[in-house]
Symmetry: C2
Subunit: 140 residues, 2 copies
Amino acid sequence: MTVGTHPESALREAGLRPTRQRLTVLAALGDRSDSVTAQQLHAELRAAGEPVGLTTVYRTLAALSEAGLLDSFEREAELAYRLCGDAHHHHLVCETCNRVEEIDAAEVEAWVEGVARAHGFAVTGHRADIFGVCSACQSG
Amino acid sequence: MTVGTHPESALREAGLRPTRQRLTVLAALGDRSDSVTAQQLHAELRAAGEPVGLTTVYRTLAALSEAGLLDSFEREAELAYRLCGDAHHHHLVCETCNRVEEIDAAEVEAWVEGVARAHGFAVTGHRADIFGVCSACQSG
DNA sequence: GTTGTTGCAAAGAATTTGCAACATA
DNA sequence: TATGTTGCAAATTCTTTGCAACAAC
């Protein structure tokens, strides 16, 4: 089940009440394939006439991320978020349009395990992202 | 040639004057194997009786990073830096002591190229880091 | 009714900028 | 001397918190 199809249930399962603001944020995230920061999203919701407070956007993104409904990663020292599926994955990020493609990375998972074992590390997480310019932006 | 052995030359080659402050910053970075933020480093230099302004620490870290002498990555929405060698590499970061080990990652480079090509991306960069708890911190 | 949520205003923290004094070449 | 660098103070920006009104259960 993806977040997009049953946003209310997804919130409920996360122990979060499905308020207007949270549904608005989820809907906005579902409409886009790029990532956004709290500031960006708040400005856009404002512009679209959706009354949601900045504080609420911050708290909502943090809560949804905590619940595993969002992916978060960092862009110039700001946190950016986007909806994510269930499986663990990695990102291909266009630096021009901020669009994010999820990529499967079985190879990377294997690499992570091997390296960590070799160094005696107990793995708690990893990150593997590729940055570049997507084909559309190269043309434009 | 590593930065550690000839800090002055390294600065000069980067088009930066080897000032006392910059040498102090480089020396401090050379003394440690973990990563630091501008705020941290400034506090430590202060405590050590080295008079370097916070603004200068920010500007110096940014300049050195820009020049490729430092690696930068993000820790809880703050930029952290550390000296880096010449080759491209990846990190194994201990979340307890912040120590960073550089790891070779030929596999990852190959993976990056393959994925990017498949998606029509022009690669500008990538990042692959592993987080965990090092063996020393597991014992302690 | 009880408890979680919202949003304003204020506080806090990180970072950047203006600019005059200073150091390096 | 000419130009790059420093550092203070002030301004900016991002984020969090206190708290009273409000919505969901």
